[in-house]
Amino acid sequence: MSRSLEDILFAAPGPQARAVTNAVSAIAAAVLLLLAVAIVFRFHSAGQLDAPYWEFFAWPTTWSFLAKGLLGTLASSAMAAVISLALGLVLLLGRLSRLRLMRWPSIAVIEFLRGTPTLLLIYVCFLVLPSVGIKLSTYWMLTLPIGLSTAAVVAEVYRAGVLAVPRGQTDAARSLGLTEVQVFFFVVFPQALRYIVPALVAQLVIVVKDTTFGYVVTYGELMQNAKVLIANYHSLVPVYLVVAALYCLVNYAISKASQRLGRPMH
């Protein structure tokens, strides 16, 4: 992998092609700039750039409140990730088992958890479980459903990785006299993990996104705290913009980290 496809595609433009490209580039830049100006103007004409909507962002209390929300988001995400990585492995082992008694229930659980919206699971923990006498804290009402539904996806991601490991690896390890369990944990699974690190981390992004539902159960994560800020300062657009930017930054950082982890393999 030396050159990317588009570099090959447009490798040696002639003088005319270069002139056209430059002209179109300039036009595109102008249009984009115009778009940006139009957006700013829209903010201005709607009065959204007025100081009262933004000044509380200069106060440290605002940021510490948002940071607290972000911490709540991360606490819930981290626990959900741990649950899903561990439970996902259990589901994977069940899924790969030769015993039908293990395999079929595992498949059923995976398909059920994977095929149901996380939000629906959250509603079950929030609305249905209390009516049958199970009371969870808001943290667990949010974290448990996310962890469960992610576990099913993680199990499938693990499986994709395991299936991607060349068969020759298993054959070679078996012919060296390793037992089936050894082959799985020392040869296949570690290699599978390397294949799927990007996918697993992409899953972490989805976990962080799912914690946004915290406001449904009033768990103090970023979105919920944003709602509180809005209620206090009546400043909808700026707060939502800042919060959206925070989410994007966190998730972007996670994706970039995954790409870096995936790189040395190639």
């Binding site: 050159r3 496809l5 595609l9 079950v124 249905v128 939502y240």
Partner: protein
């Protein structure tokens, strides 16, 4: 079981309508999302740095923003900018934007699977870059992304549960379950029925995707 039959007697038609609304929301956001995403993926190949940069920002924003946050922004914040979009179109717009970003991203990785030598070969045959994109790059990229696109469609179908956050007149499955759980003691049965509907829909999509994948995959 008794509960489920009682529930279906009371809410049977409502469940059917909810399922249809879920399907409808899925389709009307997936189709434009894929088209928009394809356009974005192709434009990102062009040697136009400003456009590439803007589209990369576009993809990263809508790939990384939580759908709920985007939906809430569209529904509650945009009116403050004098842009009012009705509830249902807001949901569709949210899902379309998110879908387009993921489509563009998946197509990008599909494009990356194409060996550079193919492009060189096509160039040496005298094909122009845009011809190569439409005749060599896109067809192969499309074929190699059937699997991720199937997952995306399923994820999108599950994301239509977002609509339950808005007070729309029509209820999709999640909204219906939360209403039933609020109104009666049939919450668990309602959850079981809705979950079954979601799972079956997802399995159908997965099955169709696998069949398509088998038909179009490229063996290398």
């Amino acid at each position: 079981m008794g509960e489920v039959s009682r529930l279906l007697a009371d809410y049977g038609p409502a469940f059917w309508q909810a399922l249809l609304l879920t399907w409808k929301l899925t389709v009307v956001s997936f189709v434009p999302g894929v088209m928009l995403g394809t356009v974005v993926a192709v434009l990102r190949l062009m040697p136009l740095p400003p456009l590439r940069m803007a589209l990369t920002v576009y993809v990263e924003i809508f790939r990384n923003i939580p759908s709920v946050a985007l939906l809430i922004f569209i529904v509650f914040a945009l009116p403050d900018l004098n842009i009012v979009i009705d509830y249902e179109p807001s949901v569709i717009l949210t899902l379309t934007l998110v879908c387009s970003a993921f489509t563009a991203d998946y197509l990008r990785s599909g494009i990356n699977t194409i060996p550079g030598s193919q492009i060189e070969a096509a160039l040496s045959l005298g094909m122009r870059p845009l011809q190569i994109v439409s005749a060599v790059v896109l067809p192969q990229a499309m074929r190699s992304v059937v699997q991720p696109m199937t997952s995306l469609l399923i994820a999108l179908m599950l994301s239509t549960s977002l609509a339950s956050q808005l007070p729309f007149p029509g209820r999709e499955l999640t909204a219906l379950v939360s209403k039933i759980a609020n109104d009666s003691a049939l919450g668990i049965a309602a959850f079981a029925v809705a979950a079954t509907m979601y799972v079956v829909t997802g399995l159908l999509i997965a099955w169709a995707g696998a069949a398509l994948e088998k038909k179009v995959r490229i063996l290398r």
